[in-house]
Symmetry: C2
Subunit: 421 residues, 2 copies
């Protein structure tokens, strides 16, 4: 079976001057992969007639499916719809369902008083030769075109509108239109060892991988995810091939293996706590609430995460977490003693089973010869035992915040695993 290829074209000057980071195409690619469509290329062009036009021409020559996002908003810098109309040789007509929906949104949901603007009403116009994809989440409809055996889909750039349309309209239609191969992924998450050392360790295994299986190394803030991808026709055979290879791989990287699933570190921690019906709280200085944020991104967090004290100011460490004034005076806020007392402060005051604390210097300023930028103390513990460890990170502030958070969550994970119920 031949691979069905797709191209994702994202449109917008804001993407070309770097004012907006494109998150749409990553999400779309992931969803397309799940149904067996391979994204061969992604392209970004500006709000420029000729650039959009030639991107459509060129990408249709390379892929069976061309997905376009952006350029459908109500304001004057949008030229995509008239261009699509001309490109596919249609003319703009009012779609009554979309018009009714726009009126409903403005009156009932946005609760705007006064007449609806001309530019919003115009969003109900669509080329007469497209299949209209109804967008229940917004005013701009999706549009699907067929041309010379290729499928073109245009979607709004607002992420939750695009996602709704992909799930409800685009993916099911592509599954009907093409006979798709299966693409299966399995990911192993490791922590604490660089990609080249892992590669060296698993070299013999990797060299023997069958042709239809492909390995990728995905390093990310101290973690390296190993993603094994299998492409083929026979889903159950692919599943077995993956399983066989994963079984061979696991013992080789046992020391650094976090989990055999594509999960974030906080998801692994949340899963452990849920299974054990236990709770955690955090005391954060240098991470500034980022660990709390990670622990509450996923729904259902509230059953195992009780709360956090972000003690950015030393006085807050003393007043809320009961870190002793003498401790901070004598050893400084970035010290083993301070993070240990912060953990105890969480256990005492938030009454959790486990606690975690961070204190460090994230940069770019605030370093000293003794404690340069990137110095971090992390402690984890329960009411019986507290462990503390010093780390030396490097480079920029946001990276240090993320690396400290991941490292702290990994220490917590190990601590929980090593302490039976």
């Amino acid at each position: 079976m031949q691979t069905v290829n797709a191209c994702i074209i994202t449109i917008g000057d804001e993407l070309l001057i770097g004012q907006t980071i494109d998150t749409n195409s990553a999400w779309m690619a992931e969803e397309l992969n799940k149904i067996g469509v391979w994204v061969k290329r992604k392209i970004t062009v500006g709000d420029v007639w000729d650039d959009i036009w030639s991107a459509l021409d060129e990408e249709a020559g390379k892929s069976e499916i061309v997905l376009i996002t952006g350029g459908l908003g109500p304001t004057a810098d949008d030229i995509t719809k008239p261009l699509l109309c001309k490109y596919f040789g249609g003319k703009l007509v009012v779609n009554e369902q979309v018009l009714t929906h726009i009126k409903y949104l403005f009156e009932k949901i946005f609760q705007r008083s006064g007449p609806i603007l001309e530019r919003n009403l115009k969003q109900a116009e669509v080329p007469d030769n497209c299949t209209v994809l109804f967008n229940e989440r917004g005013t701009a409809p999706g549009m699907l075109f067929n041309k010379e055996g290729k499928i073109f889909v245009s979607l709004p750039g607002v992420p939750h509108e695009m996602k709704g349309l992909m799930k409800k309209e685009v993916l099911p239609r592509l599954q009907k239109e093409f006979r798709l191969p299966f693409i299966l992924h399995q990911t192993l998450v490791t922590y604490g060892m660089g990609e080249s050392f892992i590669a060296e360790k698993i070299k013999d295994w990797e060299e023997k991988l069958p042709q239809h299986l492909k390995l990728a190394y995905l390093p990310h803030y101290g973690m390296v995810r190993l993603r094994l991808t299998a492409i083929g026709d026979d889903k159950s055979k692919l599943g077995k091939d993956l399983e066989t290879q994963i079984t061979g791989l696991k013992p080789l990287i046992d020391e650094w293996l976090v989990i055999d699933d594509d999960m974030t570190m906080q998801q692994v921690v949340a899963k452990l706590l849920k299974e054990r019906k236990q709770t955690v709280g955090t005391a954060e200085s240098c991470t500034g609430g980022y660990i709390a944020h990670l622990l509450t991104i996923d729904p259902g967090a509230s059953s195992n995460f009780k709360g956090t004290v972000v003690a950015y100011d030393n006085k807050v460490k003393e007043d809320i977490l009961e870190v002793r004034h003498e401790t901070i005076e004598s050893t400084g806020a970035v010290s083993e003693e301070t993070v240990r007392e912060m953990v105890q402060g969480v256990l005492n005051n938030l009454k959790t089973d486990f606690a975690l604390a961070t204190s460090g210097i994230m940069g770019p300023d605030g370093g000293t010869p003794d404690k340069p930028v990137g110095t971090v103390w992390i402690a984890v513990g329960n009411n019986k035992e507290i462990e503390a460890k010093k780390f030396q990170f490097r480079f920029d502030r946001m990276r240090n915040i993320e690396q400290t958070s991941n490292t702290a969550l990994n220490m917590l994970r190990k601590f929980i695993e090593n302490h039976d119920l």
Copy 2:
């Protein structure tokens, strides 16, 4: 003067299956814009020889500058360097400076014991016909090639390594190589009104904009940034043109204007607090520490942000923030009374000048007919006065967290502005 165009090619299967979001190209585009290089296209291709090769061919036909990131790591899935070597007709030779640096990194910085791996040593190999761009932050050097009057630069995909090389090596070289036009941007940040209504309001002004000025609407979680771009030769004339137009625009959007600079909401709040030498603390339930994180992303936050209590569990609201048990019992955690008491709890216990509190239902579960998903109460205040307001957001969890955070920070901004020192 002719515009100098660039293309950014990002390489990696992980970008095409959606496992990694490309943040590199946005940053690069922003930096290129600042020196007057216009990014015409961005392309992502996989770790596939033919796809990389044809991307180089095609993009060199469209732009004067081709920047490539990714595909230079030490593991086996990387094919970029041999390809570049062949494409530009060179052969791989060991670069002594890079080799010394790799040894230094492994011995002194990574503190690995044992011999350095062959695959890491190979990173010191570079095509003999490129200019080596020394990467002090990592093992993979950058490479610059000239071919038929076009400039090609290959950079590692690790963000902080790429950034270091861009700043130190690439941007200065491009400024020397090309006579660049000036591109000036000015951004006005608005909050609380949709892009189509703003567009309607400023229609007459927008229609009269001179040809060399371009307006873009950038909506983002309740904010709409209006970015005016001027392109030309005469920097001081462009500056004046921008100023004239911004002066005309401001009164039209006065009601929603946050600031006349490209700043985030938390940066505006931090600026206000710094000017007034005042402090803030937050009490977060539904935002789970995200506001604290926003307030600590930028360096120097510690002088005006004291801390946060993430009170995800109601017991933490009572124990640490002194929210009365009866309040939560009678009105629920998502209520005006609760967020008011949370604000008072921060003022009393963290001893800040201002406080902010959030409580709501972020979804997808946890909604009731009375309080559906997206219901949020926000309060801001000082020791004299507390204001509370209810909001109804929609859609997905992460979007609700971001929208609540931005809305809360905007309420805080207004509260601070309305309360003289």
